[in-house]
């Protein structure tokens, strides 16, 4: 006798996916190379593993979009828990979810709503996972709000590529939003520009996590945001904060200064207060929806070849009408992550090692924090371990000509990058 089994009957695939199958059952003039209509491509779409990095505003949209596009094996990774301030824009979270892991709550909401889709959450850092983990996915989509995390993902995925093994080529689809502006892009490792190639297009992030503002301020900006975002509406619920009104700014300055003193933070000034207040860019749900859906559209096209993917970057701006600009972002020959040649740096031979490090720290295209430098023969300056740092510190004030030859290659490592950068130092 057969054991009783509990099976949830799934809707008939042909009826459920009727609209998507119109594209997968028939060829068309705009299909990508390699498209073959029929059962195989549908089976492929329904079976591949896809990773969503981030379960915030973009991530929630992405999970829903992918699940309603026929992807059934979706993984999501996010290290955050749900904060009260997330509830109004991150639509998969309810008040009863506050404090729980975003990835887990988002996954179970989608699985409850859309049967047949499996979402595997991981509550933790992207850095917890190794190549073996990332290697299981066919496509990786990033919906992140931090430059750091994106750099890490980009470099990790691009480094995994082994030209003898085509399976290791993982397309990255990256989305980002800020207010009415957003972008989506496709990164095909070593074929298109990567995130690092375009690092100098990034402006400094201007938003801070609500929990930092509310509980753990570190910067003067955090104190100012606390005063403007939390204190102002509490004190003046009916009055709109005006960044051009000196009295409003003075009030904020006063509150922020008190808070800064309490936390021993310095640097809260009038002009900083005004700057922060006028630059508050709230996340807008519709921009998230547009960018996430654009990323998911590209995932659908890449997975099925039913139409050519975009080439390769779309910028979106929605405050004055509706505007997009789609263009091919160019690869950089000396990109530290995907480039073939080392970055060339010209310095005077009498410059010190410290001068060289300052020069590197100034470069917007590589954005280093605490670089360590070595040649193939020796360590020039190492940030860690401590003993090595102490041993190499005297080098900082030495002339470069005492330490390296003209044209010698120097390897730079930094905590903000999972890989090393090669630079060629030329004396002027």
């Amino acid at each position: 006798m057969a054991l009783p089994t509990v099976t949830q009957s799934l809707p008939d695939a042909d009826r459920r996916w009727r609209d998507i199958y119109r594209y997968l059952d028939r060829p068309g003039p705009f299909m990508a190379e390699g498209f073959e209509a029929g059962a195989a491509v549908k089976e492929f779409l329904h079976s591949i593993k896809i990773l969503v990095v981030g379960a915030g505003g973009l991530g929630c949209e992405l999970l829903k979009d992918l699940a309603l596009t026929g992807f059934t094996d979706i993984h999501v990774i996010d290290m955050d828990t749900i904060d009260v301030s997330n509830l109004n824009r991150q639509f998969l979270f309810r008040a009863s979810d506050v404090g729980k892991a975003k990835a887990e709550v988002a996954a179970s909401f989608i699985m409850r709503r859309i049967p047949g889709v499996k979402i595997t959450p991981y509550f933790g850092k992207i850095q917890d996972k190794d190549e073996e983990y990332y290697n299981q996915f066919t496509i990786i989509i990033c919906g992140l709000d931090s430059v750091e995390a994106r750099r890490w993902m980009n470099a990790t995925i691009i480094n995994m590529y082994d030209e003898d093994d085509p399976e290791t080529l993982k397309p990255i689809i990256d989305g980002g939003t800020e207010g009415f502006k957003g972008q989506s892009r496709i990164i095909l490792p070593h074929m298109t520009a990567c995130y690092e190639c375009s690092l100098d297009m990034q402006t400094k992030p201007t938003t801070y996590p609500m929990c930092t503002i509310a509980n753990t301020p570190r910067l003067p900006e955090h104190c100012i945001e606390w005063a403007s975002v939390l204190e102002w509406p509490r004190e003046f619920p009916d009055k709109k904060l005006d960044g051009d009104d000196p009295e409003h700014i003075k009030w904020l300055l006063d509150r922020a200064s008190t808070r800064a003193r309490h936390y021993d933070i310095t640097g809260v000034t009038y002009s900083l207060t005004q700057g922060v207040v006028k630059n508050i860019i709230p996340a807008i749900a519709s921009t998230n929806a547009i960018v996430a859906a654009s990323c998911a559209t590209e995932a659908f096209k890449i997975a099925t070849n039913c139409a050519t993917p975009m080439n390769n970057y779309m910028m979106y701006v929605g405050d004055q009408g509706v505007y997009t600009y789609t263009f091919e972002l160019q690869k950089k020959e000396d990109c530290p992550v995907c480039g073939a040649v080392a970055i060339k740096i010209q310095v005077s031979p009498s410059a010190t090692l410290q001068d060289l490090i300052d020069l590197l720290l100034d470069r917007k295209d590589i954005q280093l924090k605490k670089p360590s430098l070595r040649t193939s023969a020796t360590s020039l300056y190492m940030q860690a371990p401590r003993a090595l740092q102490e041993a190499t510190r005297p080098n900082l004030s030495k002339c470069l000509s005492e330490l390296i030859r003209d044209g010698e290659e120097v390897t730079v490592t930094d905590e903000s990058l999972p890989i090393s950068i090669q630079i060629t130092v030329r004396f002027e």
């Binding site: 799934l10 809707p11 998507i20 309603l68 002009s271 929806a289 998911a296 559209t297 004055q320 009408g321």
Partner: protein
């Protein structure tokens, strides 16, 4: 304020719209209604986030509105299980009490009739359609006014015509006598005001106009820099903004035409607030404004000591308040002249108008009739776009028009039935050719590729394309309802293959 909206629909885009609209911060939307005559089918499960397998066979309007409202308990929701086409045909008065109507996937005669109803009743209508990897949206409003367009920055510093308090403040600085520290913290506005003043003294009150003049003007600023202070940040800022000093303060022509518009000039008790304030500003300009708009009163950030910067801000702001007070008085008189209470328009509204007076927008949308009637159609726009940029999306517009004709004729989308796949392509091609000829355009400008792709798509609603359009439309709806930011005028076509949007005024 309670605002009713009607969202009539056949599918996903609607669901997306609704819930997006609630997410964006918005005081206006009090309630919304979903109108849909269909029952949930299995194909909805592959498109629509607001249905579940358990809801198959139930009223789609009911299921969607319930799951939708779960997202925001503060919005009142309702649904009507009737076919929108049937309501449009039999109960046009149904639409009268909505502030905005969104029509999703509605085409042909029902759409034209709905557009007429909304146009006559002065109700904004937003049309949205998804067709495979393509999306379309069109906004129709008789007149849409925007005070807060949120430009990147509002700059009006009056270098060429400083008002008394500003002139006095600049005169209070004697650059030669300041110690180095104070000299390096003189706000650049003061540096420029002084430079303009001394230039005008030497040049019969004229501003530097030729290239040589301007170079000389900049040199006069450089000459005042001191070598003992590194950086000279305030002087660099003065040089970077020097063009503002020699550009005369004028009123942009688009703003002039708003102020002189007949709506502002002929005030009646029916005139909306926007036009009453516009008239007051117009009169202000001709009288106490001495040819200038009310001062916005904003001061950009700059290198300066806190005290002088705050004083500058206070000076500009005080003048802005004074200007706004003068406009307010004119508004009160205008209101009295038409028998309205002076409290009808709050002071904050007048102040906001004055602050943004240089950045107002008035959009008069073309009606759907004007777009569809051959005599008034924008054939030239279509022709030029077809002949121009290959990245342009106008070919998809022509395709959507052709598909609409086929849909009306056969009551199904071309490509829906496998047995008619080839003949449907021929039918669509004929419709395209007819459209082009009717508009005096060469049919060969539309390649067969577009026809084949449209028949392949067969009117499918792919969730992600609907989501992109839903996001765009919800954003535009918020702009229309709040009168903030600048809405699209009037058509957007999104191509999900290239991933690019194009906007046309059709």
């Amino acid at each position: 304020m309670s605002t009713d909206q009607l969202w009539s629909s056949y599918g996903i885009p609607m669901a997306k719209l609704l819930w997006k609209a609630q997410n964006v911060e918005l005081e206006g939307i009090g309630s919304l209604m979903v109108v849909d005559g269909c029952l949930v089918e299995e194909s909805d499960l592959g498109q629509n986030f607001f249905v579940t397998p358990a809801s198959v066979g139930q009223s789609r309007a009911k299921v969607v509105s319930e799951l939708l409202l779960e997202l925001n308990a503060e919005v009142e929701g309702s649904h009507v299980q009737r076919d929108p086409a049937e309501i449009i045909e039999n109960s046009p008065e149904f639409f009268q009490h909505f502030s905005l109507v969104i029509a999703t996937q509605i085409t042909g005669p029902s759409l034209y009739k709905l557009a007429d109803i909304c146009w006559a009743a002065n109700i904004p209508l937003v049309i949205v359609r998804a067709h495979g990897l393509m999306g379309y949206s069109r906004i129709i409003v008789r007149e849409h006014t925007v005070v807060e367009s949120h430009p990147e920055q509002i700059v009006d510093l009056r270098f060429d015509s400083p008002f008394a308090a500003l002139r006095e403040f600049a005169e209070s600085f004697n650059l030669d006598e300041l110690d180095s520290m104070a000299h390096s913290h003189v706000p650049y506005i003061v540096i420029l005001l002084k430079a303009v003043d001394s230039w005008k003294r030497k040049h019969d009150g004229k501003l530097p106009s030729s290239t040589a003049d301007r170079e000389q003007f900049k040199q006069s600023i450089r000459d005042q820099q001191r070598s003992d202070m590194p950086g000279n940040q305030n002087f660099n800022e003065a040089l970077a903004s020097a063009y503002r000093a020699w550009t005369p303060t004028t009123i942009p022509s688009s703003i002039r035409s708003i102020l002189n518009n007949t709506c502002a000039q002929n005030i009646t008790s029916e005139t909306p607030d926007f036009w009453i304030i516009a008239r007051a500003v117009c009169d202000f300009v001709q009288n106490e404004g001495q040819g200038f708009l009310p001062l916005p009163g904003t001061v950009p950030d700059m290198h300066a000591d806190t005290e002088s910067y705050i004083r500058l801000q206070t000076i500009y702001r005080a003048k802005a308040r004074e200007d706004a007070a003068a406009v307010s008085e004119r508004v009160a008189n205008l209101l009295a002249s038409i028998g309205s209470s002076p409290s009808r328009i709050p002071v904050q509204e007048i102040e906001m108008f004055c602050k943004n007076a240089g950045y107002l927008h008035v959009i008069r949308y073309r009606s759907l009739t004007e777009e569809y009637a051959t005599e008034t159609a924008r054939s030239k726009t279509i022709g030029n776009s077809l002949a121009g940029d290959p990245q342009d999306n106008i070919a998809w517009y022509v395709m959507l028009r052709a598909v609409e004709v086929c849909k009306t004729q056969f009551q199904r989308y071309p490509g829906e039935s496998e047995s008619h796949y080839v003949s449907d392509q021929q039918t669509v091609r004929k419709c395209v050719d007819a459209f082009m000829q009717e508009h005096g355009l060469d049919p060969a400008l539309i390649a067969d590729d577009y026809v084949q792709e449209c028949v392949r798509a067969a009117g499918s609603e792919i969730h992600v394309i609907a989501a992109i359009l839903g996001g765009i439309v919800s954003q535009e709806v918020i702009k229309l309802l709040t009168h903030q930011y600048v809405p699209l005028n009037n058509t957007v076509i999104f191509d999900g293959i290239k991933s690019a949007a194009s906007v046309y005024e059709l």
